[in-house]
């Protein structure tokens, strides 16, 4: 029997070749593409052209990669203000697909793809799955929602292009998810991390042991999560949990992906150019220092997005990855510059609360943060569900758990906040992105 090019982990899928490109070659390719996309956007996107003209910058002024700093930023509001088609840079007959992201307020934002864009998307998703050690022969259960959300179709097309078997189950119906996982022999699953946590709980309820399921990898993304949560998932299920990064504005899933070394996420730099800037001063941050991630699409034709402000806070990891890929890595995105809230003068991110709760052994991460105002002061309450494991039948026992959780949060935040233990299943479960913060503050 002949080995197929992609039927073993040790054999690289040809689409992954750019992941191993020589650095100078990669930077040359990036510059070539940056110049071309700047010209394409300038010629075909009115908003971008107007902003360039205001600054007196011409596409020809981009002579080096550093010159990207001369270009204007794109904000999420720009996509909203030009709703629905204002940023399209090709005639409508070249657009083969539209997706839209559920805007938290008002109108969604619409994104477009040409045939060529779809091919690029497939390619980066193949490279994404390859990072997780997946290949032809794997059975991938795609629990990302199908539809306008980019997660479902993005992962679907990528998994097919990889040569894997796709189960297009979409999100929801947990009992069926688990039954399919076991009966169809699913080896990898794509889902939001919070939904997968829900599945872990559900399997427990159904009395299903993870040993009965051949699952070995999870591709989890579409919301920030933490390393502690990864360890929890891996410990509970015995699978490897990989962090995938992407956003609809840029392409959807497949902008970046963790590899088996589990140290940061590789960015597919030949298609997405990254910068890290200080979110306040816009100054470029050196490797290793945190700032806001800025992404420029280097090859997207239907809707190029130049210097997009992601509001995701991360840093570039200096040095080469042990996996051999030469494309750079960023640290796991655990927070967003706009998730932050301030309580008693302290900047707080939901991810910090999550990390604290997970540090306390045996606590399942079902929690919710409720913000309210009392007498002009913002108050915060963390509600944590009691589980069969943490419940002891004495008042002293329950109070000890309460204290442990409360101390862990105080330790991370430096301030003490109200913590309430609530009955199980009282916090709403999410099928997609988890809603961790309930904001009842008077605006």
């Amino acid at each position: 029997m002949h080995a197929q090019w992609n039927d073993r982990e040790s054999l690289m899928h040809p689409a992954s070749a750019p992941d191993y490109m020589r650095e100078e070659q990669l930077r040359t390719l990036q510059l070539q593409r940056l110049r071309a996309i700047t010209k394409h956007a300038y010629d075909n996107q009115r908003l971008f052209r107007e902003r360039m003209d205001e600054r007196g910058v011409k596409p020809e002024d981009v002579r080096s990669l550093e010159d990207i700093r001369k270009l204007p930023f794109t904000q999420k509001t720009d996509l909203r203000d030009t709703y629905p088609y204002g940023l399209f840079a090709v005639p409508m007959n070249e657009v083969v697909r539209l997706h839209a992201s559920s805007g938290t307020t008002g109108k969604p934002i619409v994104v477009a793809y040409t045939d060529e864009d779809i091919e690029v998307w497939k390619e980066v998703m193949v490279r994404t799955f390859a990072c997780a050690g997946l290949h032809s022969g794997d059975i991938i259960q795609n629990a990302y929602g199908y539809g306008l959300f980019t997660g479902g179709l993005g992962a679907h097309y990528g998994a097919e292009a990889l040569g894997a078997t796709v189960i297009p189950i979409s999100g929801g119906n947990s009992e069926r998810q688990i039954m399919v996982m076991r009966d169809f022999g699913t080896t990898a699953i794509c889902a939001t991390p919070s939904y997968f946590l829900h599945l872990i709980e559900y399997a427990e309820k159904m009395g299903i042991d993870w040993d009965e399921i051949p699952l070995r990898a999870g591709v989890f993304g579409a919301e920030p999560w933490t390393d502690e949560m990864r360890e929890y998932i891996e410990g509970k299920t015995g699978i490897k949990a990989y962090d995938i990064y992407g956003l609809s504005e840029i392409i959807g899933p497949g902008v970046g992906m963790a590899c088996e070394k589990q140290h940061g996420l590789h960015i597919f730099e030949d298609h997405f150019m990254i910068e890290i800037v200080d979110p306040v001063t816009d100054e470029a941050m050196p490797d290793g220092e945190e700032g806001e991630l800025i992404i420029t699409t280097l090859s997207k034709k239907a809707m190029p997005v130049m210097r997009y402000r992601t509001h995701d806070i991360t840093s570039v990891i200096a040095g080469k990855c042990e996996c051999g890929r030469t494309i750079r890595r960023i640290n796991r995105i655990a927070r967003r510059s706009d998730d932050m809230f301030i309580i008693r003068g302290v900047n707080i991110f939901p991810s910090q609360i999550e990390a604290a709760l997970l540090k306390v052994e045996e606590t399942q991460p079902h929690y919710q943060i409720v913000l309210s105002s009392h007498g002009g002061m913002d108050q915060m309450e963390v509600q944590v569900e009691v589980s069969a494991k943490t419940f002891t039948d004495t008042v002293r026992g329950v109070e000890a758990v309460h204290k442990q959780l409360s101390d862990a949060i105080a330790h991370i935040l430096g301030i003490r906040v109200k913590l309430t233990l609530v009955e199980p299943n009282t916090i709403e479960r999410s099928m997609g992105k988890a809603k961790r913060v309930i904001d009842n503050r008077t605006k």
Partner: protein, 146 residues
């Protein structure tokens, strides 16, 4: 000699205890006795029911956290000095009470005390040595049903 008790976590919010009782009633589960420990934030309801496994499954499938724990039941004449005697015996053996509750059985002359001690096995031994009547589950349910 130890009995099964069902402990349930309750959030301190209006109607929660009633909901739990209604659920047991609908399923024909009779509460022999109970105690409620409450703090500002939460409560722990401890129940003695005959069909504790069924009750536990029922409560869990309705979103409660329930746990089976062990207690000791001692039957005494309903007159002064009974509890004091038991506590002296346990104290002499270096055992402490974690919590306790009591009920008077239907015939009226006897009382049953339910205890959770920090060392349950040692507590049973001490009571047996003092010849105090410890009830097993069959005896307890008989007394309760009168």
């Amino acid at each position: 000699m130890k009995l099964k008790q069902l402990s349930v976590f309750l959030e301190n919010k209006p109607g929660r205890l009633r909901e739990l009782c209604a659920l047991l009633a609908e399923n024909q589960i009779n509460i022999i006795t109970l105690s409620l420990a409450d703090t500002e934030q939460f409560g722990i309801l401890r129940l003695i029911v005959k069909d504790y496994d069924k009750a536990k499954t029922l409560l869990e499938s309705n979103g409660f956290v329930a746990k089976l724990t062990e207690v000791i039941a001692v039957e005494l004449d309903d007159q002064p000095g009974g509890l004091s005697e038991i506590l002296s015996i346990e104290e002499a053996s270096g055992i402490s009470v974690e919590y306790m509750y009591a009920f008077v059985i239907k015939s009226g002359e006897k009382a049953v005390l339910l205890f959770r001690f920090d060392d349950m096995d040692k507590a049973v031994a001490a009571l047996q040595q003092a010849n105090l009547p410890i009830l097993d589950s069959v005896e307890l349910y008989q007394r309760a049903e009168g």
